[in-house]
């Protein structure tokens, strides 16, 4: 970690670049976000609390957070399996699949939304066979769940992949030569050292899913209290001229994002403390 050593710079331009950075940051990010908080201060605490704890808001938040959590869990498991296959095995098309992982990140959310809906609607390629089995995906909470899995998968894969690649092979070999069977080596030796990366990937996927709008609204039924996500409720409140409600929900979500960022920060600190610097 030579970089972390403080150095005195003789380079010019600190004042100028710092000033520009802070100005631009303020104009684009800070002032707009401050406006959001300012708007909620127009509400009394009771009003704010009333909005946030109203049944519909609570349900929307529950749906957003609950399904995001569930989707992030699926991403965690499937992401690990995908990383494992991509890093440890050689199979035809491996490089292609490696590149494909990034598609949910690069594909515009509206495109993902219409595509997933088309795919999982009752007449869709996957929707039709699933409907035969009595499973409805599109326009149910399962649809939201699917969309959230779609957008979250690259986050877990891309966070865990480099760590697994970089894992010291000697640890595994040592464990194996000491008589640990493969099962033990994987679950007692390898996975524990991946935990910080796994949790970070999980948190990133979770954060992304909570705020997701474009890919979800097409496939969600948008039924209040059942399949209405919090960002959609914000949009609905806006179109009902209820700015206070919209901003109150937005503030709750924003605070949640701050907390998640904070958590990710912590996870990283933990990761650093655990992994010896090479």
């Amino acid at each position: 970690m030579t970089i972390a050593v403080a150095r005195r710079s003789t380079l010019p331009g600190f004042g100028l670049t710092m000033g520009l950075t802070l100005t631009w940051l303020s104009v684009i990010i800070l002032i707009p976000l401050a406006a959001l908080f300012l708007k909620t201060f127009e509400l009394s605490l009771d009003q704010f609390w009333g909005i946030v704890t109203s049944r519909r808001t609570l349900n929307a938040l529950k749906i957003s957070f609950g399904l995001s959590f569930a989707a992030a869990c699926v991403n965690l498991v499937m992401g690990t399996i995908i990383v494992w296959a991509l890093v440890r095995y050689r199979f035809p098309g491996r490089r292609l699949f490696d590149a494909i992982v990034d598609i949910p990140f690069a594909l515009p959310t509206a495109v993902a939304g219409v595509a997933l809906t088309q795919l999982f609607a009752q007449k869709g390629w996957l929707g039709a066979p699933l409907a035969e089995l009595g499973i409805k995906v599109a326009f149910t909470p399962i649809g939201i769940f699917i969309a959230m899995i779609f957008i979250g998968i690259p986050f877990v894969v891309r966070t865990v992949q480099p760590v697994l690649i970089d894992l010291d092979p000697e640890i595994e070999e040592a464990a194996a030569s000491l008589g640990a069977n493969r099962w033990h080596t994987v679950f007692r030796v390898i996975l524990p050292s991946l935990i910080p990366a796994l949790l970070t990937g999980f948190a990133l996927a979770f954060a992304r899913a909570i705020g997701e709008y474009g890919s979800v609204i097409f496939i969600a039924g948008n039924l209040p209290n059942v399949s209405e996500i919090a960002p959609l409720l914000i949009v609905i409140r806006l179109s009902e001229f209820r700015y206070a409600d919209a901003t109150a929900i937005a503030v709750v979500m924003l605070v949640a994002s701050f907390l998640i960022i904070f958590l990710i920060n912590r996870l990283q600190r933990w990761a650093q403390a655990r992994i010896p610097v090479h």
């Binding site: 992982v101 509206a110 480099p162 994987v186 914000i234 990283q268």
Partner: protein, 320 residues
């Protein structure tokens, strides 16, 4: 300590969007991967699973990626071409489609340019100098990554809407921000804010300041130093950030949807037009526009892969 945390966050956050230039937890993926592409036979026995398990894991990974990632992409193109190539081309030649493409390009040009300038400036300040609160500053720059796009649009409604904080003044001076190009551009700049800066900061931090200091001591001006010394070193990383910034700028839906006003042929970007056409039973046209965006995503991915190679190559000589 705080410095370390900041850097650590930067890698993780970045890894999902930008190349992981080695700072803390791990080294960039592709290079090492190539190095270990052919594990020795002795190692293979110890470091892998029994055949059937291997097969199941590979099958699961391929099945999952095929169903969740490949199929949606295929659906886009299949639906776009479902009525033949003529209908597809006709859909894209519609004036409304052309207007949306033009607007999308304009918005991307504005927001990428501004974020490019800002990204370089911010990366210079953050990576070449030491100051307190650096971690906090990086966190602030990261913020738009985790803010819901809807909220990104909402904040500008609160500021510039006729009922918003600056609304009455803007109305009085006949300045249109919301439901016009400036509002759409602002919302897009907000959501794409971190991309360039986040691609550059770890890279420039790693490169240190020695080369620049040498240039300065030889009498070069600050700008000369930047253009002759720093820029050549960071050009691939910069391109990488611009690439991702552009992909997101062209594809943004939620934030733009809130501030657009949906005026046909005027304030509809391509993602918004996808939704509108979809709601007008013009499925072929909707998926035709969607297919253009999907192609953009594919081109982005290819370019990204190429750039990642370049970045790795650039790093190898002065590696650990």
């Amino acid at each position: 300590m705080s410095m370390q945390t900041g850097l650590a966050t930067s890698t993780t956050q970045l890894r999902t969007y930008a190349p992981a230039t080695d700072v803390s937890v791990a080294a960039p993926a592709p290079r090492l991967e190539i190095a270990r592409a052919e594990p020795g036979t002795a190692q293979r026995n110890l470091r892998t699973e029994p055949g059937p398990i291997r097969f199941i894991i590979i099958a699961l990974a391929i099945a999952f990626l095929s169903v969740f990632v490949v199929l949606p992409l295929v659906v886009v193109f299949a639906s776009a071409l479902s009525k033949g190539v003529v209908a597809y081309v006709a859909a894209l030649a519609e004036p409304e489609a052309l207007a949306a493409i033009k607007l999308t390009l304009l918005i991307a040009a504005i927001s990428v340019t501004l974020n490019l300038v800002f990204g370089v400036v911010a990366a210079w300040a953050i990576s070449k100098f030491e100051f307190t609160g650096k971690t906090f500053l990086i966190t602030l720059i990261d913020l738009p990554f985790s803010v819901s796009p809807v909220i990104s649009g909402l904040v500008f409604v609160l500021l510039f809407g006729a009922q918003g904080y600056f609304g009455p003044w803007l109305q009085a001076h006949n300045v249109h921000v919301l439901f016009a190009v400036p509002g759409i551009a602002l919302a897009t700049i907000f959501v794409t804010f971190p991309f360039v800066a986040r691609a550059l900061i770890p890279l420039m931090q790693e490169q240190g300041t020695q080369e620049e200091e040498a240039a300065i001591s030889l009498g070069a001006s600050g700008l000369q130093t930047f253009f002759r010394v720093t820029l050549p070193n960071i050009k691939w990383g910069l391109l990488y950030g611009v690439l991702l910034c552009n992909a997101r700028a062209m594809g943004e839906f939620g934030a733009v949807s809130v501030v657009s006003g949906h005026i046909r042929g005027e304030t509809n970007t391509m993602p918004l037009l996808v939704e509108i056409l979809y709601n007008e039973y013009q499925f072929v046209a909707s998926f035709a526009i969607a297919s253009l965006l999907a192609m953009l995503a594919l081109i982005t991915l290819v370019a990204k892969t190429v750039l990642e190679r370049r970045l790795d190559e650039a790093e190898v000589p002065d590696g650990d």
